[in-house]
Symmetry: C2
Subunit: 152 residues, 2 copies
DNA sequence: CACCAACGTTGGCTAGACCAACGATATGAG
DNA sequence: CTCATATCGTTGGTCTAGCCAACGTTGGTG
């Protein structure tokens, strides 16, 4: 009957916070689906990436890098350690800490995930050309940097 | 005292899907806090806005407008009807339907929420000038439009 | 030594976004 | 007119991300 019955009200359509949220929803759907093919979730990728780029580090430090809460980090490391993608070992220099290190298999998996993720980004950004993609990334980076560490 | 220990790995920092998600996190935090002052959540605002802009409509139609699931719509209408911000009445022309209409008090509340939300948007977009805000809104709109109705 | 901070871990909470199924009602095909 | 199909509101789930509080252990400092 009514054409375009799915059009949101103007108030919502113009709301930057909602646009951002809706875009994030779409992005997460695409990314989650891509990662699911490899049997992992976003937290797993984030941890592997941080572990690869910064080398062996404590769970707390990795949490600060990735924004993953200490409590969620426990389960994430559990998962990846079970699959031998990272190793968890007590830090002899500070016995409160676990040292988490990425394994060779972890690096390999990370490379595979990088490819899946690149395709996902492309699907997400499909309607935008290269210049627009750069602009968007720049604007979002400025927003995220501004709000980093505010209360999250 | 490591400097900038919270810096995310490059892989994550450059990932548009993650940037979008982090921005949405910040936006939602700010918006939720603003709405909480008025004792409402995002769903409530969305429903009031749709109800005001499109007039009396069925719950299902409002759900399509706002992206709120039918099942979640029930509770949302319950909440607002309890506070007399909307009215729910059986539709005599189609007895499957409930007609939801915004009340005078609902319009008043909506105006109040509009103000709170405008301030929240400003806080969210603080680091961007007017031109950048328009650019961001445009880019996000194109993304959201492209992905609308894909599987959400 | 006494404190306080940081660590990993357990356990819990919330909201948002979903899905499946039901009975009641409308609609459309034949 | 009948039968199949679709829609509506509603109930009752599920899942996950993002949180927070508290605990015992350990480290560092006064």
């Amino acid at each position: 009957m009514d054409i375009e019955e799915g059009t949101p009200p103007q108030r919502l359509r113009a709301l930057p916070s909602r646009l951002t949220n809706q875009a994030a929803l779409a992005a997460n759907r695409i990314v989650d689906q891509a990662l699911a093919e490899a049997g992992v979730r976003r937290y797993h990728y984030a941890l592997l990436a941080a572990s690869e780029e910064y080398g062996p580090a404590s769970q707390a430090a990795l949490g600060r890098r990735t924004g993953i809460d200490r409590s969620d980090m426990v389960a994430t490391v559990n998962d990846l350690a079970e699959r031998r993608l990272v190793e968890r070992a007590p830090d002899p220099e500070d016995r409160r800490r676990n040292t988490v290190s990425i394994t060779a298999a972890g690096r390999q998996e990370l490379t595979r995930l990088d490819r899946l993720l690149a395709a996902a980004q492309d699907a997400f950004l499909a309607p935008l050309g290269q210049a627009d993609r750069r602009t968007l990334t720049d604007l979002l980076t400025r927003l995220v940097d501004h709000h980093r560490g505010e209360q999250g």
